[in-house]
């Protein structure tokens, strides 16, 4: 007993010591907990959020492109697509294998996906497959557990309701290339597109919008548990073009199967109401991928469907250049409205003979008659009298051979030669070169847009510049109002004389375009025909004078017409070219007639609401 009591006392001492040590350790654990949970809470809170919240950017919806009345020319269509957040997958390679079992991926696609995964920050998902079929989508949804990081969502793709006929003015979009995606992370987002031509390219910055984001809570396997927050971003702005889709459709239909271009401008503002370039192409293919045979077909087509001929097609203006030559001569006094020159059917300079059209001898005529009947010999002499540099100067004033500052990419300024230009090019400029300048042949090359601009400036005496963006996000753009443009630096009296002559071209029986005069009451069109050689015809062929039946299509002359209407209060300017269509009066003027008739009937200029709607609204009071 005694021993045990002693033992117990010793034990109690030791047990108390052990207990104290254990209490101290518990205290240390408690202290450590306090440090972790209270002192360092904010640090770990942040880590916990970072752990579970994943953020990814989402592509904004691209802005719409409409015509001036709000008719959608480029819109967005929803489709299903599969995206991949590789950072959320413990083993991305196996996820891709699982995905490929459900949705076939070819070698190219796999290579692209691998490249995309390698080169992107974690918050930017990688596109696995666009345009998922319903069964594919269902298969993916069912197999979600095997596909951590895979997201099936609604994406948008670009649609062009009017198709090929509007492809040139509206343009198209395509996926950004690797370099663009690298330079701008936003472009790396699946669904982001870059405008490559037309209005899509010109207004790309406002059409794009700003990306949104989705914050999701994901578990350790990368499976989305719930959506925490989202922001749709800012959709791209709507761009309303100055085009009148009805008029554009008419222009395309009028050109039909012929290669060519037709441009209608608001002559007081320079707004482009129609800009057709035939043939067109399916603009949607650039987004979805162009089949090889289609691409080869485009490349091999002698009609060059991908070229916007209205702004990039270069043509000899032919006789449509004569008003410019006349205005240059009038300006410098080498020609007066009453001056009479004689046409004997040909003009001899040195030992070279320049023929008049059809070898016709027009006799002694004034400038007005010369324009009316399109006498070449008259203008050979006028050109020689005024000189090539002054012709070029007037051409530039009228918008030919200069950069028109178009709000459409890939435009060409064309060319009107000068002595200086010839010297720089090592071209020996002979008087004969100046002679053919008088009838818009030789080195001169113009775009239909430049011809329409020339016509608008001559018609109104306003130095309008053509442009196509009318409203961006509802805001009227500069240059869309009458009065936004300065007066043209050309004598009004000279313009009036030329306009009078152009009136007679269309509205007198001896005028070359009399067949295309308007059938509207109190409104007339004025204009000028042109038939421009595309081939340096041999003397023998000149003798035969466009013996067209024997010529290959590509050698036939281009038919042109420029005009404006109404004559007494000009508002619309038009330029039409039918490539290798022979006579401008026969092929181009009738198209211009249709377009001007449409323009004068519907009067779209300066309006955002169609005239017809207004009429019908007025007719049905409620």
């Amino acid at each position: 007993m005694k021993r045990d009591t002693k033992k117990q006392a010793g034990f109690t001492k030791r047990a108390l010591l052990i207990g104290t040590a254990q209490a101290a350790i518990f205290g240390a654990i408690g202290t450590r907990l306090y440090k972790l949970q209270v002192d360092e809470h904010s640090k770990y809170q942040l880590l916990a959020e970072h752990n579970s919240i994943s953020e990814r950017l989402t592509a904004p919806e691209r802005g719409l492109i409409t015509d001036r009345f709000g008719v959608v020319l480029a819109g967005n269509q929803q489709h299903w697509r599969a995206l991949f957040m590789a950072a959320q997958a413990p083993d991305p390679a196996s996820v891709l294998d699982n995905f490929a079992k459900l949705v076939p991926l070819d070698a190219d696609e796999r290579a692209r996906i691998a490249a995309d995964i390698g080169g992107r920050p974690g918050y930017i998902p990688v596109l696995l497959k666009d345009y998922l079929e319903w069964p594919e989508m269902a298969a993916l949804e069912v197999n979600t557990p095997n596909l951590p990081g895979v997201i099936v969502e609604v994406g948008t793709s670009r649609v062009y309701p009017f198709g090929a006929g509007f492809a040139h003015p509206v343009g198209y979009v395509a996926r950004p290339d690797q370099a663009e995606a690298k330079a701008n992370n936003v472009l790396a987002l699946p669904g982001m597109r870059v405008g490559r031509s037309g209005a899509e390219a010109a207004n790309d910055d406002v059409l794009r919008g700003s990306p949104g984001y989705v914050q999701t809570e994901t578990n350790v396997h990368g499976e989305v548990v719930r959506q925490v927050a989202h922001d749709n971003g800012i959709p791209g702005q709507t761009v309303a073009l100055s085009l009148d889709s009805g008029m554009q459709t008419l222009a395309v239909q009028a050109l039909g199967t012929q290669a060519g271009a037709a441009v209608v401008l608001d002559a007081l503002t320079g707004e482009i109401l129609a800009m057709a370039s035939n043939p067109g192409f399916d603009p949607g293919l650039f987004d979805k991928g162009i089949p090889t045979d289609v691409w080869k077909g485009w490349m091999a087509d002698p009609m060059h469907p991908l070229q916007n001929k209205a702004i990039a097609g270069l043509f000899a203006p032919g006789s449509t250049f004569k008003p410019t030559v006349a205005l240059a001569a009038l300006k410098y006094g080498s020609l007066t409205p009453d001056k009479i020159l004689t046409c004997n059917g040909s003009f001899q300079l040195g030992d070279h003979v320049f023929w008049c059209d059809n070898h016709t001898a027009h006799g002694s005529i004034t400038m007005t008659t010369a324009l009316q009947v399109s006498c070449d010999v008259f203008f050979y002499q006028v050109a020689l009298g005024v000189g090539v540099d002054r012709i070029a100067e007037m051409a530039h004033t009228l918008g030919i051979g200069v950069d028109l500052q178009l709000d459409i990419p890939h435009a060409s300024p064309g060319l009107v030669p000068t002595i200086e230009w010839a010297a720089a090019r090592g071209v020996h400029w002979a008087p004969g070169n100046t002679v053919v300048q008088g009838i818009g042949q030789g080195y001169t090359q113009v775009t239909p847009m430049a011809l329409a601009t020339m016509m608008a400036r001559v018609a109104t005496g306003v130095e309008v510049g053509p442009h196509m963006a009318r409203r961006i996000d509802g805001n009227l753009q500069d240059g869309s109002d009458i009065g936004d443009w300065p007066a043209l630096d050309v004598d009004d009296r000279h313009l009036a004389v030329v306009r009078q002559a152009l009136f007679e071209v269309v509205n007198t029986p001896s005028g070359t375009a009399y067949g295309s005069r308007l059938d509207l009451p109190n409104m007339q069109m004025a204009g000028k025909t042109g038939t421009a050689q595309v081939h340096d015809n041999t003397a023998a062929e000149k003798q035969k004078n466009f013996n067209d039946a024997t010529m290959a299509w590509a050698d036939r002359p281009n038919g042109l017409f420029v005009g404006f209407a109404p004559y007494n209060a000009p508002r619309y300017a038009v330029a039409v070219i039918v490539e290798h269509g022979l006579f401008g009066a026969q092929v181009a003027a009738p198209i211009a007639k249709q377009l001007m008739t449409y323009a004068l009937t519907n009067d779209p200029a300066g309006r955002d609401i169609p005239l017809t709607t207004k009429v019908s609204d007025a007719g049905t009071p409620s």
Binding site: D4, A15, Q22, R32, L33, Q37, L47, A48, N219
Partner: protein
């Protein structure tokens, strides 16, 4: 039987230890603490399942209730009977360890488990209690002089080293170290001189680098990971990092019940077992974790009080060993969760999901309550 035997038996008989009387002598504060911890465990396991009583919470509750009944039953067993069973149970424990090594099934790379009548048991868990029983029995009869004798101590060291060696072979480094520490603590309580422990600790410190060479790769990895958890964020160090994030993000008052993202989004693997404390800490914050800590310590304190209160050396050493076992469970688990010591498969007793540790701990508590119930029993040094 000599004269002292009579004096030993008197108190037992005088206080007429009927079952009801015994039952009344159970330390009910202790029982309340145990049930409270089990309740915390139920809440944590409910949360671990994403707010569901299945698959963890309810099945653990059933296990606990069974174990509680077992605890009460053992508490009624005469302490002398337990003393008599000490050595046989030690031998049984050793046999089980050998059997599990030969026929047990592998879990997480180690042979630790065996199935007895459909119940999964881990013999190393039982072995810790059996070792305490054996050592308590061994030192119960030792006089002060004998404890000073090194040759008397050697068999005790062997008794400790046999199971420690077997557990190391499983391999289970954590439990082996804990087992050795329990044995050492019981020897300390028995009165072995401090300087002898100092020598042993010095020897281990010198031998440690050599032992390290013989560790399994995963054991080495654990130690390396512990020293630099950031080195392999998705490998072995991942658990420590995620565990600390869970604790730290809990803050003072917690993210709220079922609101812990670390828990609910499964950033912690097997969180219902070894990392169950992170659920409490994340969802109930510092308040929840410190309350749990306090309850755990209260249990250790009551066990130590029971040890000091016992009138016989066997009961004293037994209670000390059981208290130390429970303390080491808590210490290793909590330190592991907080990234203070290498990760080892040590659950948090009474709270973690799993039957083996719970059964072992409650078995120990049953014995502890028996010590408490029979605290006035005195039996002679050579009673058995």
């Amino acid at each position: 039987m000599n004269g002292s035997t009579l004096s030993l038996h008197r108190p037992f008989k005088d206080r007429s230890f009927g079952l009801v009387r015994k039952f009344m002598r159970i330390n009910w504060l202790f029982v309340i603490c145990v049930c409270a911890l089990a309740g915390i465990g139920y809440v944590a396991l409910y949360s671990a399942a994403g707010g569901s009583t299945t698959p963890y919470a309810n099945s653990q509750l059933i296990r606990f209730c069974t174990a509680l009944i077992m605890m009460f039953a053992i508490a009624m067993v005469d302490i002398r009977l337990i003393a008599k069973a000490a050595w046989p149970s030690y031998v049984l424990g050793i046999l089980l360890l050998v059997v599990v090594m030969k026929f047990g099934h592998t879990g997480l790379g180690a042979k630790r488990w065996m199935s007895v009548g459909g119940v999964e048991i881990q013999p190393s868990e039982l072995m810790k209690l059996f070792l305490v029983l054996a050592l308590a029995a061994y030192f119960h009869r030792a006089s002060h002089e004998r404890i000073g004798n090194v040759f008397f101590l050697l068999p005790a060291v062997v008794v400790i080293l046999i199971p420690v060696g077997l557990i190391l072979k499983e391999p289970n480094l954590g439990t082996a170290v804990i087992t050795a520490a329990i044995g050492a603590t019981v020897m300390l309580g028995a009165g072995v001189r401090w300087w002898k422990f100092a020598i042993v600790i010095a020897v281990i410190a010198i031998a440690a680098p050599v032992l390290y060479h013989h560790l399994h790769d995963y054991q080495k990895a654990r130690i390396i990971t512990f020293l630099n958890p950031g080195s392999d964020p998705l490998g072995a160090g991942y658990n420590i990092i995620q565990s600390k994030i869970a604790l730290g993000s809990g803050g003072f008052s917690g993210q709220g019940f079922l609101q812990g993202t670390q828990n609910q989004l499964n950033f912690l693997p097997e969180k219902q077992t070894d990392f169950v404390f992170t659920i409490i800490a994340e969802e109930f914050g510092f308040i929840g974790s410190i309350a749990t800590l306090a309850l755990l310590f209260l249990i250790v304190a009551i066990a130590l009080y029971t040890a000091m209160r016992s009138e016989n050396q066997f009961g004293r050493l037994l209670a000390l060993g059981i208290a130390t076992n429970f303390f080491l469970y808590c210490f290793v688990n909590l330190s592991m969760v907080m990234g203070l010591i290498p990760v080892g498969g040590v659950p948090l007793p009474l709270i973690s999901y799993g039957g083996s540790a719970l059964t072992a701990v409650m078995l120990g508590f049953g014995v502890l309550m028996s010590v408490h119930v029979h605290r006035d029993a005195e039996f002679a040094v050579d009673e058995f």
